[in-house]
């Protein structure tokens, strides 16, 4: 980085950097080969975003050279000093790099084409992949198309930096609108059931946006963004603003909007989408619980699914007529017992780990999660928990004379959302309460927290117990919804996905967790539940892993960060920047002189 800073001072000559070229083209090429070799291109090709020209597969494949071009032209400001200015060399570099990346991918396709035996080991590398990479133009000339397209996209990517900020943003909004309208096709169709002209205009009969509607959408969204920019629109954008008053106001508006939506939306949606909404709600409940443990108290719990399992199994045992428990309660009667059991589980897991170092705590909670699952699964305890069969015939939630279970999903959504609201309220009230402040202090520095008189043992246990109770809400609802509880639903991956939801959304922030759950569980899907992009199925966990890495490297505070958490994570940068003023001069200088 220092070299680049020095360059800034040097005479501005366009220089062509071969090492940069190799790095960018290599990375973009690798990304494209990865997308093809893992079979993403092939799988997602069935999902057409804009019929007939753009599929999800090609969108993913071709975003690589575009992003690469964008990064080539991007200038970062480090410690107030901008690195070397944009020159025409960047454009050349982006084009050549795109070309090389395309060639690498074409070479890979040629390789797969010549060695059909590869398919024995790598099931994805077959003729289908080659024909997609050559755009169905045959093996010879087809290999040249991809490099050309990649070069053009690289050029487009770098060209973005020559547009004004406003125009660039508008184009981004337009593209995002088109893509998300295509992804949310089923939601839009469901919601506008009463006004079917709109979906009929937007979507092709066979699925996917039509070309005309995509263009119209893009122009409308980009135009709206272009002309509205700069004007104050109260909305989600200001949720992250530093001004507490503004933040509060926009939170209230957002909360009101969400409230209205939650009341109206389930009525408009069909069964499949309400199912999806319920899953989002269940994961949001767990996310809120884990948010208290990880986000507020800073205890990394990797076995959080254990509490969900305890809640679900307790509810199942108490309500199912087939269970080993001699008496049978209804959902409401069993609910307090479920909470109690979860709280006890919280104490039981929490106490042994209280004195442990943070990372040991993580791995031990993971161990607890697995122990719980294996015990539920074992033959030894199968007289109680049913072993691999699980506990069956769990009744729904009795309301009046009827029982609401998974088959009455439209009503069930309201229950889920009701408990989400309770959990959100609890989280919100706890955040700035005495114990919430104790958690924050403990998270930042445990020794100092103890020194100022915070009972860290009590604080940690309370975090575990509150988290466990919120997870048991989800467990109790889950049992009533699915009707059968078995150990397979409580694998470690559930804990990890909840963690990703919390981290991607924004640790320590309720709205952040909600956004995380909506985006991840809603679009990608949960561990065993499909999301809107059902095609993602087998790549879901790959994407979750990649997201986790990306967020930790680029934005550890999440999409909608809590202000305090963001400050903690970037403390070092703040301290560094404090030395320099806006022009990058050393602040201490004048005083010393």
């Amino acid at each position: 980085m220092t070299a680049a800073t020095v360059d800034a001072a040097a005479p501005r000559t366009a220089r062509f950097d071969v090492r940069r070229l190799l790095r960018y083209s290599g990375l973009a090429g690798l990304a494209m080969v990865f997308v093809a070799a893992t079979g993403m291109l092939e799988t997602f090709n069935n999902r057409l975003l804009i019929r007939p020209i753009l599929s999800m597969g090609y969108l993913i494949l071709l975003s690589a050279p575009f992003v690469m071009g964008y990064l080539v032209g991007k200038r970062t400001e480090i410690e107030g000093v901008e690195t070397a200015p944009r020159t025409s060399a960047d454009v050349v570099l982006a084009i050549v790099a795109g070309l090389i990346a395309g060639l690498i991918t074409a070479l890979f396709a040629a390789l797969v084409d010549t060695f059909p035996g590869l398919r024995g080991t790598f099931p994805r590398m077959g003729p289908q992949m080659v024909s997609l990479l050559t755009f169905d133009r045959g093996v010879g000339i087809g290999f040249l198309i991809l490099p050309a397209v990649a070069a053009v996209l690289g050029a487009l990517g770098v060209a973005m930096h020559w547009l004004s900020d406003r125009l660039r943003k508008a184009l981004g909004v337009g593209a995002l609108t088109v893509v998300s309208t295509a992804i949310f096709e089923s939601v839009v169709k469901d919601v506008f059931d009463w006004f079917s002209t709109l979906p009929r205009f937007l979507y092709h009969t066979a699925g996917g946006l039509s070309v005309v509607s995509a263009i119209v959408l893009f122009v409308v969204a980009a135009g709206a963004s272009f002309f509205l920019q700069g004007r104050k629109v109260p909305g989600l954008g200001s949720l992250t603003s530093a001004d507490t008053g503004e933040r509060r106001r926009s939170s209230l508006i957002a909360a009101a909007v969400v409230l209205v939506l939650t009341i109206v939306l389930p009525q408009l949606l069909g069964g499949v989408l309400n199912e999806l909404l319920t899953n989002v709600g269940l994961f949001l409940l767990m996310g809120l619980g884990l948010n208290i443990v990880v986000g507020y108290a800073g205890l990394l719990d990797l076995g959080y699914v254990a509490f969900f399992a305890v809640g679900a199994y307790t509810m199942a045992l108490l309500t199912s007529p087939l269970s080993a428990v001699p008496f049978q309660l209804n959902w409401w009667q069993a609910f307090p017992i479920v909470l109690l059991m979860a709280a006890l589980a919280g104490v039981f897991v929490g106490t042994p780990v209280i004195r442990m170092r943070g990372d040991y705590l993580a791995i031990v909670t993971l161990g607890f999660g697995e122990i719980v699952r294996y015990l539920f699964l074992s033959d030894w305890l199968s007289p109680f928990f049913g072993g691999a069969q699980g506990v069956r015939r769990i009744p729904g939630i009795p309301v009046g004379s009827n029982e609401i279970g998974g088959s009455d999903i439209t009503q069930f959504v309201y229950f889920t959302l009701f408990f989400v609201a309770i959990a959100a309220y609890i989280s919100w009230r706890l955040q700035d309460s005495r114990i919430g402040r104790a958690w924050a202090a403990m998270r930042e520095d445990e020794d100092i927290a103890e020194a100022v008189g915070i009972d860290t043992v009590k604080a940690k246990l309370l975090a575990f117990v509150t988290g466990a109770v919120l997870a048991s809400f989800a467990g109790a609802l889950f049992a009533a919804k699915v009707g059968t509880v078995f150990a397979h639903s409580f694998e470690i991956i559930v804990s990890i996905i909840i963690l990703v939801v919390v981290i991607v959304g924004g640790m320590g922030n309720i709205a952040g967790v909600a956004v995380g759950a909506l985006v991840l569980i809603g679009v990608l899907g949960g561990p065993n539940q499909p999301g809107l992009l059902q095609e993602f199925g087998e790549y879901k966990l790959l994407v979750y892993g990649a997201l986790l890495i990306f967020m930790m490297l680029q934005k550890p505070e999440g999409l909608l960060p809590s202000a305090r958490r963001a400050r903690e994570l970037h403390q070092e940068e703040y301290l560094q920047d404090a030395w320099l003023d806006k022009e990058g001069r050393f602040v201490g200088q004048e005083q010393e002189a």
């Binding site: 994805r124 990797l302 031990v364 161990g367 966990l541 892993g545």
Partner: protein
């Protein structure tokens, strides 16, 4: 006089009054000891009455457990070294091991098809070993470069969470590339299938091979760490990064060495897995990874001899424990509870002796 002494005594007793957390921990400790003792006595009584396994079966069980423990030990070295130097749990180390086993499988399969596997078994195993070691080393170095290097000095949970992400990313990348089916290594050549007779003990060749390889790699590692320049640099960086840098040690390069050596050991472990279990798929690395971490903690993290010892001990716990202790308690279906025993061992180690059996060796920043 007596009154004041008594008063002082109460005061002292009061200040040492254990909190209820201590009481809880003591309850766990005592409960664990009672259960283990009960199970042992039950097993001994069973054995005396001629029920359950025979002496030969017990011995075979122990030998199998030892060889599996040796594998855990080699994996544990990777966790231990990274924790000692960088202070975080490299959750993805199990996947480094898995990648070696998967790519090693391709090599083995190719050798089998070419007929070399049957004609020249020693050479084939050696080639598989080299391929597995190279792959694991490469993956470990890549992971360090891409994911961890930027995170030095970040709060310690951040690299841990990142490594979880890396772990899942690698798992499902391999699942997507190779498919999810379990692939089996070709059968170990004829000459290794028999058993070796050492002073009346019959020990399976494969176990002997695994244990010998483990001992050889341990000696190699010991020589590297204590007798070479790079090994010295590693120890210095583990002790104190800043001062090591002041002494002219290239810290970045040394950390890469740490990951490379850990990866190479994981590659050796991958070969052992191939000999012991044969079947590999994308999920192969996950449980062995967590168990190897348990071994590292058991032996005392940062301590290389401890990692190996911890691995062997955990192998014994897990291999013999379910039958010996749970079987003695009369619990049915104990083989299902193997992993429960391993995880319980982890919890108990951290409750009884968080610094491990052989004592931990951590850098200045991580010592508590």
């Amino acid at each position: 006089m007596t009154a004041t002494t008594a008063e002082a005594a109460t005061r002292v007793r009061k200040s040492f009054r254990p909190s209820w957390v201590d009481l809880f921990l003591w309850a766990i400790r005592i409960g664990a000891i009672v259960i283990i003792a009960w199970g042992l006595i039950g097993s001994i009584l069973n054995f005396a009455a001629g029920r359950g396994l025979s002496a030969t079966q017990w011995r075979d069980l122990i030998v199998a457990a030892l060889s599996q423990g040796a594998m855990y030990g080699l994996l544990a070295l990777g966790y231990s070294m990274v924790y000692g130097v960088l202070g975080f749990i490299n959750f993805a180390h199990g996947e480094v091991f898995m990648s070696g086993a998967m790519v090693g499988f391709i090599a083995a399969n190719w050798l089998f098809d070419a007929g070399i596997w049957a004609a020249n078994p020693i050479l084939s195993l050696f080639i598989v070993l080299v391929v597995a070691m190279l792959t694991s080393t490469l993956v470990a170095i890549l992971v360090e470069r891409v994911a961890y290097r930027k995170l030095r000095g970040a709060p310690r949970l951040i690299p841990l969470i990142t490594s979880i992400g890396v772990s899942f990313f690698l798992q499902y990348t391999f699942a997507a590339l190779f498919g999810v089916a379990v692939r089996s290594y070709p059968q170990v050549p004829e000459s290794f299938r028999g058993a070796l007779n050492i002073g009346g003990f019959r020990i399976a060749w494969s176990s002997v091979l695994v244990i010998v390889v483990a001992i050889l790699s341990m000696i190699g590692l010991w020589y590297f760490v204590t007798r070479t320049k790079s090994g010295q640099a590693m120890r210095a960086v583990a002790e104190d990064k800043e001062i090591a840098a002041l002494m002219g040690i290239d810290v970045d390069r040394t950390i890469v060495t740490v990951f490379a050596v850990g990866g190479a050991m994981a590659g050796v472990a991958a070969l052992m897995w191939a000999i012991l279990f044969r079947g590999v798929n994308f999920f192969t690395g996950f449980l062995p990874g967590i168990k190897a971490f348990t071994s590292a903690v058991l032996g005392g993290i940062g301590n290389l001899v401890g990692a190996m010892g911890g691995g062997v001990l955990l192998g014994l716990f897990e291999g013999v424990g379910p039958l010996l202790i749970l079987g003695g308690l009369g619990i049915p279906g104990v083989s299902q509870l193997k992993d429960v025993v391993a995880f319980t061992a982890l919890v108990l180690v951290l409750v009884f002796r968080p610094s491990g059996i052989f004592g931990e060796r951590l850098g200045s920043e991580d010592r508590v």
